[in-house]
Symmetry: D2
Subunit: 426 residues, 4 copies
C-alpha cells in the first residue's frame, strides 16, 4: 500500500532548476510521482505551473520527501496550519523546531499565510498572536508603531525566550526560492556563473556602478562591509568620497579597519607604510597602536572628530555625514577602540539591524564580516562580493543569495574605478 500527497510548483520552475531538483529528490528518496498538470511557460517571461502526485511506501518516507520538496519551494496543494510549540526555557527550542533558509517564507496560521519577518537563515520562527505583546506594551508604555497581528518572525537561538511559540515540523510552511530569470535585463543579470579572475573588469565595475545608481534612485540603502585591506591598498580616499556623496549609507567593519583608517589620517601611514610614497617611516609599525591610544584618550571616534584629532577618512565622513556604522570586535584586535562592540552576540544584533535595512550590500575584502552580514540577509538583497582571493568570493557566493555577484579583483583598483564611474562621470 502506498501513501500519497499532492504538491504544486509555481514560477520559473524550469529556468530556476526547481523542477529538476524536485524530480531528483523524489527519486533519491525512493518515491515516485505522476505529473497531473503541467503548464509550461513558453516564453522567457512566463511562469510555469505543475501539479504532481507524490507517492511513497509509508508515511515516514512521504514526510521526508515532502520536507525536502518544500525546502526547494514545492508546497502541498492542500496545506494545513503550522505546528506551534512553546519554548521550554530561555535559549532552548522545542525538539524538531523548524530551522530557516534565507528565502522568503510563509507560515500558515489559522488558515491564513503570514509572511515571516526579518528572514535570515538558521533561525527559529516565532508566531505571535498579539495578546501577549499588547499586554507587555501597555505595561511598559512602549510607544513603537502598532503592528498587525498575528505575525511571524525569525529569532536566533540565543534570543529565544521561554514560552515563545516556535514553529516545529514542516507543516504549514511555504518557501519561495528566488528565481534567476535568464536575460532579465536588470543590473544583476550578469555574471552569475562561477568565480574567476579572467573576467572583463572594467565592464563589470560599470555594471555594479549602475546597480548602485539604480538602488539609490529607488530610494534604497547601500551598505559597505569593509576589511582593512581596503585601507592598505590605497582605496581609502575613494571610499571616503563615496560615503560623503551618499553612495554608501551604512558601514559595517571591524576594529582594524577603523584603526588603519585613523592611522592614515593621523600619521599618513597604513600598517606603517606611507600609501603615497610607499616608504616605511621609522616607528611606522607602532603607528596603529598609537592611533588607538589617541582615540581612547579622546573617548571615541566621534569625540576625536569633534576635537579635530581626526580630520579625514572613511570614519570621519561617517561621523560628519551621519552614516551609521557598526564596528564589531574580534579576538585579533589591538586596543580595541571604544566604539568597537566586543561582545559577539551584541555585535551580531547590531549587524542584523543594519542588514535588515540594506537594499544593496558591497562586501569589500573581508571574509569574517561579510559572512556575519551575509548570515543576516534575506536572499532577496542585492549583494556584491569583491576580493582578490577567489576562495573568499566563492565562499560568500555559496551562501545562497540569488542576487549575489562576485568579482575577483584588486580592491585597490576596484574602489577608485567605481568612484570614478559614480562621481566623475555624472
Amino acid at each position: 500500500m502506498t501513501v500519497s500527497r499532492e504538491v504544486e510548483l509555481e514560477g520559473h520552475i524550469i529556468d530556476s532548476g526547481m523542477m529538476q531538483s524536485c524530480f531528483g529528490i523524489i527519486m533519491d528518496l525512493g518515491g515516485s510521482f505522476s505529473v497531473q498538470e503541467f503548464d509550461i511557460g513558453r516564453h522567457k517571461d512566463e511562469e510555469s505551473y505543475a501539479r504532481m502526485l507524490v507517492e511513497a511506501d509509508d508515511e515516514d518516507q512521504l514526510q521526508s520527501i515532502v520536507h525536502e520538496l518544500h525546502q526547494h519551494g514545492v508546497n502541498p496543494s492542500d496545506p494545513k496550519d503550522a505546528t506551534l510549540v512553546p519554548a521550554p526555557d530561555d535559549q532552548v527550542v522545542p525538539h524538531g523546531f523548524y530551522s530557516t533558509t534565507n528565502h522568503p517564507t510563509f507560515i500558515r496560521h489559522n488558515g491564513e499565510w503570514i509572511e515571516v519577518e526579518d528572514m535570515e537563515m538558521d533561525c527559529a520562527v516565532v508566531v505571535e498572536d498579539g495578546e501577549a505583546h499588547r499586554a507587555s506594551e501597555q505595561s511598559n508604555g512602549d510607544d513603537e508603531e502598532p503592528r498587525d497581528y498575528p505575525r511571524a518572525y525569525t529569532k536566533v537561538l540565543n534570543a529565544i525566550e521561554e514560552g515563545d511559540m516556535v514553529v516545529t515540523d514542516e507543516t504549514g510552511i511555504k518557501v519561495q526560492p528566488p528565481e534567476r530569470p535568464r536575460d532579465s535585463g536588470g543590473a544583476f543579470g550578469f555574471m552569475q556563473g562561477g568565480v574567476s579572475s579572467e573576467r572583463p573588469s572594467e565592464s563589470t565595475i560599470r555594471k555594479i556602478a549602475n546597480a548602485i545608481k539604480e538602488t539609490k534612485k529607488e530610494g534604497g540603502k547601500v551598505m559597505a562591509v569593509c576589511g582593512p585591506a581596503l585601507i592598505h591598498s590605497g582605496a581609502r580616499e575613494d571610499l571616503a568620497r563615496l560615503v560623503r556623496e551618499g553612495y554608501v549609507d551604512m558601514l559595517s567593519a571591524g576594529n582594524g579597519f577603523a584603526v588603519h583608517d585613523i592611522e592614515r589620517d593621523i600619521y599618513g601611514t597604513s600598517l606603517g607604510m606611507d600609501t603615497e610614497s610607499l616608504d616605511h617611516p621609522r616607528h611606522g609599525h607602532k603607528h596603529h597602536i598609537y592611533a588607538i591610544s589617541e582615540v581612547i584618550r579622546e573617548g571615541g571616534i566621534e569625540e576625536a572628530v569633534d576635537s579635530g584629532t581626526i580630520e579625514s577618512g572613511v570614519m570621519y565622513e561617517c561621523i560628519e555625514n551621519d552614516r551609521p556604522f557598526v564596528l564589531a570586535g574580534s579576538i585579533r584586535d589591538d586596543g580595541p577602540l571604544p566604539d568597537t562592540i566586543t561582545d559577539a552576540v551584541e555585535a551580531q544584533n547590531a549587524i542584523r539591524e543594519q542588514a535588515h535595512e540594506a537594499d544593496m550590500v558591497l562586501m569589500l575584502s573581508t571574509l569574517l564580516h561579510s559572512v556575519a552580514v551575509g548570515n543576516c540577509l534575506p536572499s532577496t538583497t542585492r549583494v556584491v562580493c569583491v576580493d582578490i582571493n577567489p576562495a573568499t568570493v566563492t565562499q560568500l557566493l555559496d551562501r545562497g543569495s540569488a542576487q549575489a555577484v562576485g568579482m575577483v579583483t584588486d580592491i585597490g583598483t576596484f574602489v577608485p574605478i567605481l568612484a570614478e564611474q559614480l562621481l566623475d562621470e555624472e
Copy 2:
C-alpha cells in the same frame, strides 16, 4: 659638532643578521660609526661581540638611531634607568609610552635589569615596586604566592589602570631578539625558508612529531589551535587520540570547531556530510544548528558529556581527560554554545593565559584563532603553522616568531600521519 654614544652587540650577531641591520640603520638615519672592538666567533657555536661608537649631527638624530638600534637588540654600553610615568586614567597610556616587541625584554630600574614578564607584542610595560601590591594584598587577604619585587610586566592597552607606572621613551630597555643559529641540530633547525607546498611532506611531519616528543620529554605543554576544517577534512578522530594520549595538553578554538565536532558525534556528519561515506544525508545542513540546540538544552559541553549526549570526539576527550579549552566567539557563529566566550576582550584574556603556559603551539587550519594566539606568544615559543592556503602560513610566519615552522599541506592528511608517527610507531 657631533654627538655620539657607545653601543654593544652580543650573540650570533652575524648569523642573525643583527650586525647588517645595525649598520644599515645607522647609515639610513644619516649617522656614522666606528667599530671599536670586533670579536668575531670563528666557529658556528661561538658568539660574537662588537662595540661601536655611533655618531650623529644632533641629539634628536642620535636618539632616533639609538631607538631603532635597540629595537634590533643593540643596547647602550652605558645604560640608564627606564623612564616611568603614571597612567593618567584607566585605559589611557602616557604619551610616548614604550610599545613592546615579542622578544625577551629587560627594564633597567634602580640600576638593575629586570626581565619583563608575560612578553607579547604591542603592549605597554608596567613596573611595580611592590609597596602598592603588598598594601592591596593585605587588605583583600589575597593568598597567591609572594613575588619578588620590583617586577615589570606587559599590559594590553585596555587593562591599563590609572596610576600604573608605564615605561616611556627608549631609555633603560634591553631587547634580545632570538637568534637562529644555523645547523643547530635542534628539532626546529629546518625549513625556515619561504613557504611553499613543494616540500617533502612526510619528512617534515616526522620532524614535527620529533619536536612534540622532545617538548613532552622536557615536561613542556603542547597547545593546539584548531579550525573547523580539521573536522570537515576527517582529522577529528586522530586529533581526539592525540588529546587522549596526552600529546595535546590544551585546546584553543572557536564555536564552529566545537559545534562541528559535536555534530559529528551526534549525527555522524560534519557540515552535513558523512565524513566516512561522503554522502549528504537529507536534513544534513540543519545538523549543526540541531547540535547547538542539544548542547544548550543540556547547559554546556561538560554537562552534555556527563549525560551521555556527547560520546566521542575532540571536545569529549578534553572533558574526559581534563585538558583545558578556550572557545572564543566570533560574529559569524551560530548559537553560540554556552561554553563560548562571546566577549572579544574576555576571550583574549583567556587565550593569553593559555598562551603563556604553552611551550609549543600547533596552529591547525585557522587564521583568526592563530593570529589571536600568536599575538600573545613570546618569540621564544615553538610554533608550527599548518594550512593548505600558503597565504595563511605566510601571514602567520610573518608575525615574527623565530621558532615558527610553516607547512602548506592538507590538514586531513597531516593529522593522521602525525598521529601515526606519535602513537603507532612508539
Copy 3:
C-alpha cells in the same frame, strides 16, 4: 507563419539537467515548444523519453535552436545525412565545419549512424568511405589491421589534409552527453560538487584507490600525469612503487619531472634539497643541470638505466617494467633530456595516442600537462585531479568530463596514502 521540427530527448534527461537546458535554450532563442510525449523514469535507474515540437519564426531561428539543442544531446527525431565538404587545402577546413565536443558523437552517413572514433573536443570530423584508404594501403604496403568502412573520426586542425571529407553544419550529427546518475553506487558516485579543501581526505583517497582497483580488475589502463611537485614533495618513491606494481600503466609528464626524478637518484636531492633530511647541500642548486648533462652524455634515459647511471625512481621503474611514457617539452625546460619531445604538435600527438588508450587518468600536480591530456580525452574516461591549489582543480574539472573527481590536497601526503591503500592493505 512558423516553422517547426520534432526533436527527441532520451536518457536520464531530468537528472542530467538535459531537459532543463533544452527548455531554456528554446526560450532564450525566442522559440516555443509543445511537449508531445513525456515518459518520465519514476525510479532512479529508469531513463526518460520526451518528444517535443520546436517552433520558430523562421528557418534561421529554427536552425539556431536546433544547433544548440543538439549540442546538449537533443536530436532530431527525423534525421538526415551529415553534410560532407572536402578540405580545400592542407590544414584548412571548409567554412562552417562542425567543431566537436568531447561527448560520444555519431554521424549519419548513407542513412546509418557511425560512431565517431577518437572523440576529443575542438576537432573536425572526417568521414572516410574506405576507397581512398584502400588505395593508399595497397600502394604503400601498409599492413595495419583492416578497418570497417565507412568510418568517422576526429582530426585536429593541423592534421587536416586537402580533400578530407569534413562534416559541416549540424545536420546528421548526434551527441550523447554522459549522464551523472545520482547515487550510482559506482566508484565515482562521490564528490561531484564544488571544489574545496574542506573534505574528508582519507575517505576520499580510499574511494580513489577503489576506483583504481576496479579499473585494473576490468582490464583497464591507468595513466598518471605528473608534475615535478610530486618529486619535491617526497612522493617519488611511492609513485615508483605504483609503477612497479602495475597500478600505473602509462606516464605523461614534462622534462622537469624526469629531471628531478633523476636528480634525486643521482644526487639524493630534488631542486637541490635532500628530501629526507631537508638539508640543502652545497652545489645543490646545480644538481638538476648536472643530471641533465649526465643523461645527455649517455644518450637518453633508457641508456642511462642500462648503464647503471640511474638506479631508482619513477623513470627507472617505467624503463624496467615497460611502462610507456611521454615527456613533452616546454619553453621553460632546462636541457632538455634527449627523451623530451620538443615540438608541441608532435608531443600532442604522442599524448593523444596515450590518452586514447587510458581508462582512468590521475592528474597529479600539473596544470599544463593535465590540460593537454584532458584536451584529448573523451568525456567517458575516469579522471582524478589532485592539486593543492583549488584553482587548478576547478579549471581541470570545468573542462567537462562527467567522470572527473577533484581533490584539493597535498600531493606529498596523497600519493603515500594512496600507495598504502593499494599496496599494503591487500
Copy 4:
C-alpha cells in the same frame, strides 16, 4: 696543518648582505677566517672593502668554501686563469663544467678579465680566442660586424658543439651580484619586500609608469610578456594602445593570447564572452577555433591583417607598427596559428634573442612565458611581474633578479590604469 687563501669583497657588502652570507658560508663549511682589512662605507653611497684570509683543514674543504664564496661575489685576491676544456661531443659538456648564475660574470683568460656575454642562468660558458671564428667567417662569407677577441659567452646545453672551449671548475671566474642600495631614489627603489595584495595599488602603478617612461627616455626597449587572461579581463584595447604609442616595443606570448586577441577582433568575444556586454552569444565557445581556422586560411597573422580579416587589437598593432613578436607553442594549444613556433628549443632561442634586447620586461598574467623569458634575462634587466595569484608573483620574483618588482593585482584594471598614466596624463 691548515691551508688558506686570501679573498676580497667589494661594493655595498653590508647592505647587500654579502658580508653576512660570506661569514655564514665559511662557518657552515667548517672553515675559519681572519679579517685583514675592513674599510666600511660610513655613508649610504659609499662602498666598502674587506680582505680576509680564509682557512680550512685541507685543500678540498678550502676549494668548497671558495666555490661558495665566489657564487656570492667574493673573489680571490690573487686570481688565476679559468680552466678551459673542449666539449667531447655535440650537446655534451665536460665533467665539472661551470654552470652560470644570472649575475654579471667575468672570466680570466690570459691574465685578463673578459665579461661574459649574454648572461643567463644555468648555461655553460664558452671562451673563443678568435682564430676558429675568423676561419669560419672567411669560408662562409659571413658579414656580421667584427668582434673583439678573446670573448666569452653563455651557451645552453643543447647548443654546445664538439670542441667548444668550456669553462670548468671555479678558478678564474668573478661574479658580481647586483646590489640593492637602500634609498636609491631610482624608479625601482620600492616594494622589494614580500609579495602581498595589501599594497597601495594606484601609487604602485604610478611608479611602474614612471619606470617605463624613464626606460624609454634612456632609449631602452620595453618588452611585454602576455597571457590570455589579459584579453579575457578586458585589457586588450589598452595594451593595443601601448603597443601603438610605442610604450611596448616587443611582445612575447603564446598561441592562446594571439588567438583570443584575434577572436575578439573577428567575433567580439573572448573565450566566448562579449567583453563589453558580458553576454555569452550562442556558438561563442567555438569562436576561438573558428578564429584559428580563419588565420590558417589566410596563411598567418600578417596576411590576415593585410587582407583586412584582422582590423584591431594587440597583434594588429604589432604588425602595423613593426613591433616584433614571438608566439611560443605549448602542448595545450588549439590549432596552432601558423605564426606559433611549436618547437620548444626553437622558441627558446627566439625568446632568448628578444630577452637580450630588452631593457625592461613587463610580465603580465602568465607564469609559463614569464619563466621562459626570465630564464634568459641577466639579473640587471628591470622586471615587473603582475598577476592576481600571489604564488605566481612569488615564484617569478624568487628567480633572483635584483631589479624585479612584483604586484598582486587584477590585470584587467592594471593595464587600463597604466595606460591612463602613460597616455592620458602626458
